[in-house]
Amino acid sequence: MNNYTSFIGMEVHVELNADKKMFCGCNASHFQVEPNTHVCPVCLGLPGAMPVPNENAIWDVIKIGKALNCKINLKAKFDRKHYFYPDLPKGYQISQYDLPFCFDGSVTLSDGKVVRIRRVHLEEDTGKLKHANVDGRDVSMIDFNRSGVPLVEIVTEPDMETADEVKEYLKIIHSLVRYLGVSDADMEKGSMRLEANISVSKDKNLPPYKVEVKNVNSFRYIATSVDFEIERHKKIIEEGKWPAQETRGWDINTKGTVAQRSKEEAKDYRYFPEPDIPRIVLDENKVMEIEKNLPLLPQVARDQLISLGVRREWAVFLMEDKAMAEYSINLAKEAKIVNFEVDKVVGMLTNNKIDWKNKTVSEVLSELKSKSEEVKMDEAECLDLVNGVINDNPKVVADFKSGKENAIQFLMGQVMARSRGKADAATVMNLLKQRLISK
């Protein structure tokens, strides 16, 4: 099955770590809080209550948008999005429809792939439903503490093609909002939620369907579900049909996706501008200030590391945490100055061999320097040790000669141990090979 193109777009919801809710002054914290205690007439949707927007949340979205290279709609508004669900108290969600705060951005992955950001908008979160069985009846218990918490939605174009690209994109978003300090993006707590839109076609054209995969709360599972879906779609397409346009959920038991809705009509949200909230007109100067004052961003950190000589996978790994990223860039820069092999030095950081939280970059580098200046064994001394180990381990030598290539590692280890680290590993390997092949 070749010649297939996958089209994957991601919708990520990020809960802002705001003090107050999006449209009222209620305490926005809701994790492990007694149910229905952080509510007021507004977020409970009581008759006569009206929304008034939280300004800080708006500037947080602008930060996110700018960090994602987006254009900003200086004139923006909120809209009502209508649907019925018990956790949605007003029967509509205040969101943004045609004038989102941010649009037309992009994120570049480590291999140069550009993922376009279609839009970044602000909306309010819903309450939380808990399923239970009370007196033999299946019920849902609703807690509205989360209702009205500010939520940012980040939507990409269907530019991703593989599970790896999806994972990397998500890592960037996950890091980015934490670098900006606007969200703790905790997948387990639900402050970052994922939804993938997947389709596959035999040519380069976007096919006339897409499948939404929801209810996945880890990068690993979203990757697995993406792989699963791509295979599932390919099989159906091979049979000459298009996969059904539907919503599916990740099932941890079957390690596959399952259809979640029986009928799938286009939902009619009947959007119209929110009449209770006057329009937003953003100060262009303030937007530019925000752009200017953006901190180091994960994609930028990653690219800096790569340009300094760090290998791609490690750069992606290190960008995840801002403090670690900043440290590794510093380390790479300084290592380069003293002519150390950047990739090697930074590799030690990646492999947890550097106590970066407690040591400064200069301390680390000077330690490495003194270690390397230790008188290294010369080749003659090495040869002695090599011969000694070969003589003392005839069986292992015999194993090697009879085809067991890995046996040489054992011998190598022995030489290094006997040298108490003073031998140069590459030299030892060369000598061992020479001696074993000649003998």
């Binding site: 209620c26 229905n36 205690t37 849902s140 994922l194 009449p275």
Partner: protein, 103 residues
């Protein structure tokens, strides 16, 4: 004025969108009345609005932001006071199994 005649399927869809039960009203009467209203308002089709902006709001206001200090936060008892069905601090409804719309 254009005559608008609502089809039965359209009417049923409107009931669904509004979460209202069809059985609660005289359906033929409702269809006629709705069609009458829609015909009545269709007089707007004849109005030339090319180049005219929408007026979604009349105040001309912009950038009104919250000054709410959280004084309206209700106690649990008040929050649950209107609910017919409640338990252990939660509102209770019949079990809902279709996944909700919001991620």
């Amino acid at each position: 004025m254009t005559e608008v005649v609502l089809r039965d399927e359209e009417l049923i869809k409107l009931f669904e969108l509004s979460k209202l039960e069809v059985g609660s009203v005289d359906i033929q009467k409702m269809k006629t009345q709705l069609s009458d209203v829609l015909s009545f308002v269709s007089v707007l089709n004849d109005v030339d609005t090319s180049g005219v902006e929408d007026t979604a709001e009349v105040t001309g206001l912009s950038n009104v932001f919250s000054k709410d200090e959280g004084k309206r936060m209700m106690g649990l008892e008040d929050a649950l006071s209107g609910a017919v069905s409640k338990d252990k601090g939660y509102f209770v409804v019949k079990g809902v199994f279709v996944e909700d719309d919001n991620a």
